[in-house]
């Protein structure tokens, strides 16, 4: 029995959120200096999955594949183009402003770019304290005490209550954002790259903090990050996105030990090791990431996939459960029992054969 498994699966199988056919499309100006025809960017394109109560769901994928957009739309911080998001069985997308405001207390976000999300004219005491005031939870000295407690929790000196965002270092600002998001003991948090701006030691403190909140308060979290070792450490399940689509979703060990999607397998081969002697051969994917305004026909990964066939050009694979609790969108998923290494070798062999 794996001890760590037991600890992390405090999650029940009861969905807290059900995301159904969620789409977010942006209309942008066309290419070329003088061409002004508008194009549609399908940043999130028909994504469906559940987030179980108490689980940490890691979300990974290349820059620009739609992770932040997905996170923002689930919380309705941006209006989705289409789809449904059920939180405790009510469709958030149908709620009016008043109902939404109540929900905001339970659902929070830690933003990717802390500088852009903190108002430069307010002190951090005001920025975090505002959370308590808006929801009528505390004011005055009581509020100040609560804010200072939060600051301490994220490893910031409470005596900096009156400092402004620009007076902090990058990593300190990120922690202000974390303190703000966690201030109201939310039930669900979208954490968008919460630790990527942090050094390893603060990073481990924050990760330990998030794991503790999860264990003690049952916090449910969508954890967006590109640091695969961090995602592996904290997540119960992991979802992999590619160009607006969810291409793989399963329990963390499944994803890391038996990735079924060729993209996931390639992604896993690129993790840098913190030891120069362990540098390994990376599978750097061929070709550039296609533009989301002009995605390939059929499978969106086919232009870079070493396993692609004619079928992949013709037909887009849908997300299917290929094994127990292991969802993949690929016509030719890798078999179970194939270790990561074998999967990579297979990819390489196919590469040579082509």
């Amino acid at each position: 029995m794996n001890h760590s498994q037991e600890e992390t699966s405090a999650a029940t199988k009861e969905p807290l959120l059900k995301i159904e056919n969620l789409k977010k499309h942006f209309s942008i100006k066309g290419g070329g200096m003088f061409n002004s025809k508008r194009k549609i960017v399908k940043a999130v394109d028909d994504v469906s999955f559940h987030i179980y109560k108490g689980e940490t769901l890691g979300l990974v994928g290349e820059s620009g594949c739609g992770k932040s957009t997905l996170g923002r739309n689930i919380l309705r911080l941006q209006e989705p183009t289409e789809g449904r998001v059920f939180y405790k069985n009510t469709n958030i997308l149908e709620q009016n402003n008043r109902e939404l405001r109540k929900l905001r207390k339970e659902m929070q976000i830690i933003y990717q770019d802390p500088f852009g999300s903190l108002n430069p004219r307010f002190t951090i005491g005001q920025i975090i304290g505002e959370m308590y005031e808006i929801h009528g939870i505390a004011s005055g000295l009581e509020k100040e005490a609560k804010v200072k407690e939060m600051l301490e929790l994220v490893g910031l000196d409470p005596s900096r209550y009156h400092s402004y965002p620009h007076e902090f270092s990058g990593g300190q600002r990120q922690r202000v954002g974390i303190a703000r998001a966690l201030a109201l003991n939310p039930e669900f948090v979208v954490a968008d790259e919460p630790v990527s701006a942090l050094d390893v030691s603060v990073q481990s403190q924050v990760i330990n903090l998030l794991m503790k909140l999860k264990k003690e308060l049952g916090l449910t979290m969508l954890f967006i990050a590109h640091g695969l070792n961090v995602v592996r450490h904290i997540s119960d399940r992991v979802g992999v996105m590619y160009l607006g689509k969810l291409v793989e979703l399963s329990e963390t060990d499944n994803i890391f030990d038996h990735p079924a999607h060729p993209y996931t397998a390639a992604l896993l081969s690129t993790v840098p090791e913190a030891d120069p002697k362990l540098r390994k051969v990376r599978i750097v994917l061929k070709g550039e990431v296609p533009s989301p305004a002009n995605p390939p026909s059929g499978c969106r990964f086919r232009t870079r996939c070493p396993l692609a066939t004619e079928l992949c050009v013709q037909e887009a694979p849908s997300l299917k459960e290929i094994r127990d609790e292991h969802f993949v969108a690929c016509h030719f998923p890798l078999e179970k029992g194939q270790s990561l290494k074998e999967a990579i070798e297979l990819l390489n062999k196919e590469k040579i054969a082509n």
Partner: protein, 341 residues
Amino acid sequence: MDKILEVKDLVVGYKGKNGFVRAVDGVSFDINKGETICIVGESGSGKSVTSMSIMRLVEFENGKILNGEISFKGESLTTKKADEMRKIRGSKISMIFQEPLTALNPVFTIGKQISEAILFHHKIGKEEAWKEAEKLVRLVGISDPEGRLKQYPHELSGGMRQRVMIAMALASEPELLIADEPTTALDVTIEAQILELLRNLREEKKMSIMLITHDIGVAAEMANRIIIMYAGKIMEIANTLDIFEQPLHPYTKGLLESVPKMDGQRGVPLKSINGSIPSLNEIPDGCRFSPRCPFATEKCHQEAPAMETRGDRQVACWHVDYLLEHSLLDVEEEGEISIES
């Protein structure tokens, strides 16, 4: 070797209620032509302030260079006038800022911002500059550059914004590139591509790079030498392989051990250095790291160790010899250490 940058005894302060607090407190290092040095250290240790001082940008944030000397190719930067500095910034020395949104202007398109940076240094036409901008944007791995150039910063993803900033910093073909956490928002594949790009520029153009990163993996891959910084001071400087092979400073050791391993056990608390970095107005007496250091002795609490040279390495710690012979485990087992000093 040709030194391109020399920093000597740099002290940088911010005005607080009771005078200046020192965010950087006596830092000396140099960078050779074509060399990449990485500055590694916990959040708040003064990495960004050091780089902003080289660019002479601290002045815009109520900061002041209180002491020390910074010279670029033998010329002092500390005494340069504001307009002379402006010419150097973004041409001979460029900087990739830690937070893209601080550096990008929200009201102009990406294309306008990059092509302006190009036009600032090259005497070419607008259309040509726009074409150059396209090339740069492609180089940093953004697809559909033509379309992207017409977008505004808020329309890009976090990682794209970061890469746009990298493109902008490279637009002037700088001799020294200061890159403050340039790949934090990037996934591993694109990070690999950007690091490759930087390596090529180092080889082909002999560009020197001062790379600030908290990712020891990135430092391992990129750096010729690594500088370990803590609470405004340098703790250790050494060649990359040496640092990993045999860290001489307890802080370096602690940093190396708190990296989550790909084969580590999941779900269990990560190792981290006890305690946290002191705030600037509570810098402890003696060695700054002493309250958190498992090797600390009475002497450490009283007197700050000076930077000492050992072969081609430098380290500031009283007990390097002891550390060379004992692991952290010994200390934990014995509960305390006894060292004659």
